[in-house]
């Protein structure tokens, strides 16, 4: 008896509909997280092999210190191991969930380093530091095609939007701190960051399509 699962809609040319690579990757990540939730260490190792480099790269970019990035990386994967049973695929993608954990831990580190002043000078210093790191990082390492597209999209954002997004996402600046530093209304900063994220999302989608 034919079940609904077996009924595959075929396109006129006879080809089966192709699944987007993004969806395949997401499903595999979710499967591994499910395994981790059941205490499967091999699943954690597989997830680490698949996504470790990306998360570590983000942590190095955020902390600008490889030793600290390694410590936070350890913490992040231990947290992923402990919290995998709480992951809800209906609420977020596995990558977004893991990045949120790693960013949260890195943000704690950044906060514990020193209290920064939300001044124009501090803002300019952070922006300059981000640019230097970007150039150095790009010189030292290779990016794959997707990473290159994402970096190009990030650098291609309007300057105000790109700076606000990077400071909020990579350096843990609050919206209020950014607004105070650049002397612009809080609502403007919030809108800039949101639009920046949505523009980057479009790049990711376009690349997969």
């Amino acid at each position: 008896m034919e079940t609904a699962e077996n009924q595959v809609v075929r396109f006129p040319d006879g080809d089966q509909p192709r699944e987007l690579p993004e969806a395949v990757e997401t499903r595999e990540d979710a499967r591994l997280l499910m395994g981790i939730a059941q205490g499967d260490q091999h699943a954690l190792a597989a997830l680490y092999r698949r996504r470790g480099s990306l998360i570590y790269s983000l942590l190095v970019r955020m902390l600008v210190n490889e030793m600290e990035a390694q410590e936070v990386m350890q913490d992040a994967f231990v947290q992923i191991w402990r919290r995998a049973h709480r992951y809800d695929p209906a609420r977020s993608s596995p990558m977004a969930w893991m990045i949120m954990i790693a960013r949260g831990l890195a943000w704690d580190r950044l906060r514990s380093r020193s209290r920064r002043s939300a001044t124009q000078a501090a803002f300019e210093r952070e922006v300059a530091s981000l640019e230097v790191e970007e150039v150095n990082g790009a010189r030292q390492t290779e990016r794959d095609e997707l990473a290159t597209a994402c970096a190009a999209a990030l650098n291609g954002l309007p300057e105000d939007q790109g700076r606000a997004l990077q400071l909020a996402f990579l350096r843990g600046w609050t919206h209020e701190e950014i607004a105070c530093a650049v002397g612009e209304p809080l609502g403007t900063i919030k809108a800039r960051i949101r639009r920046g994220l949505l523009a980057l999302r479009k790049t990711l989608k376009d690349h997969h399509v």
Partner: protein, 397 residues
């Protein structure tokens, strides 16, 4: 507009991890209730993933995984109690008694016990600064020595734990409510579809096709096949007559039981319309052979061992043609009822060389709904039941 704007801002803060635990809990409740908000958060999260991917790719040093592996292996190893030690103590009952005595003496002789406050070591500065909802880092745990962690901040830890549990429960509750609403919606939809289907099936004007089969042995699969072209034609003409597309001069003759139209014999056994056909030579006692041991294949048509027919309102139409089992000249005897309620004859018809359609009523005075049985017979003897609805292993007398 301002409310929408606020939700969008909260969504950005949620994705960037900038909401406090309480705000996060509240936001997740709203997230569970709003598909639009979920879509926005999903888009913003994809943007955050793209921002993360933009970082120049680094190779992770090998020792990082080794540390992770060590930590989780340590965590998964369950503590093992040395029960033999405890059994040893139990064996020595006097030791237990001595311990009780010492305990009692301490209790009795402890000075100023009523005024002794609970001993709570002062919290260390580094831990006192931990914000509510902050995740303690693994490296921080390593620095403090794990097991050597002092029992301070118990109240704070409990409060945090309670807050965390409460928020987790709130989130789960929201998600469950959402799932419940979706399930209710699905059940409602399925119920609606089922009601529609049942209403369609109950329409009295709907023609329902069937194939009569003889009672089968247990485990024997009865096959339904396509009726032969002659029987298909016979059924089609019967349908045309039933639906009023075709007026048969023969059928209008009062008292006629058997009419011929286009080479098809039509026999009407419905009460009040016709009398029984002339050659009703029902044998005084039809000797049926056990249904489970048929001597010959019971082929009444080309459609395997099935007899095709259809039901319109309460009228039943079945089609036959001569076959080796039911040869021309055989009387086809129709019975209603079953072995429990008793078999009543509905009538009989004689098969000629032509295909034949027999009509009888499932709502006559003798009829018992759609319970009917068909047996052929002729002067030479009798045969097994060749068709029965519903199939049972009972045979008419």
């Amino acid at each position: 507009m301002s409310e929408l704007h606020l939700i969008e801002d909260d969504a950005t803060l949620y994705v960037l991890g900038r909401l406090t635990e309480a705000e996060r809990g509240e936001f997740e409740v709203r997230l569970a209730e709003s598909a639009e908000l979920r879509a926005l958060v999903s888009e913003l999260e994809e943007g955050a993933v793209a921002a993360a991917m933009a970082a120049p790719r680094r190779r992770v040093p090998k020792q990082v995984w080794e540390q992770i592996e060590k930590t989780i292996t340590r965590e998964t190893r369950a503590p093992v109690l040395d029960f033999t030690l405890w059994f040893g103590w139990l064996r020595n009952g006097w030791a237990v008694a001595a311990a009780c005595l010492v305990g009692w003496l301490l209790y009795a002789l402890w000075p100023d016990r009523a005024g002794t406050p609970d001993v709570v070591p002062s919290p260390r500065a580094s831990q006192a600064n931990v914000q509510p909802g902050e995740v303690p880092t693994e490296s921080a745990r390593t620095e403090t020595g794990g097991a050597a962690r002092p029992p301070q901040n118990t109240a704070n830890a409990e409060r945090r734990s309670l807050q965390t549990n409460f928020l987790a429960m709130t989130r789960e509750n929201g998600a469950l409510r959402l799932q419940n609403a979706q399930l209710v919606k699905q059940v409602s939809y399925l119920s609606q579809v089922l009601t529609q289907q049942q209403a369609l099936l109950a329409e009295s004007s709907r023609l329902k096709f069937f194939q009569l089969t003889p009672p089968a042995e247990t485990g024997v699969v009865t096959t339904n096949a396509v009726p032969s072209p002659e029987l298909q034609r016979a059924l089609f003409l019967a349908m045309a007559r039933e639906l009023g597309w075709l007026q048969s001069p023969g059928s209008l003759q009062s008292g006629s039981t058997q009419t011929n139209l286009g080479g098809i014999d039509f026999v009407d056994l419905r009460p009040g319309t016709n009398t029984l056909s002339a050659p009703v030579n029902l044998p005084p006692q039809i000797e049926t052979q056990p249904a489970s041991t048929p001597e010959t294949p019971l082929l009444a048509s080309d459609s395997g061992d099935a007899i095709p027919g259809f039901v319109s309102n309460t009228n039943v139409f079945v089609a036959f043609k001569p076959s080796p089992v039911v040869p021309s000249g055989s009387a086809l005897n129709f019975w209603t009822g079953d072995s429990i309620q008793g078999f009543q004859p509905l009538g009989s018809a004689v098969l000629t060389d032509n295909p034949m359609v027999v009509t009888f009523s499932a709502a006559g005075p003798n009829s018992v709904g759609m319970n009917f049985t068909l047996t052929p017979g002729n002067a030479a003897g009798s045969f097994n039941v060749i068709g029965q609805s519903p199939p049972t292993n009972s045979t008419p007398p």
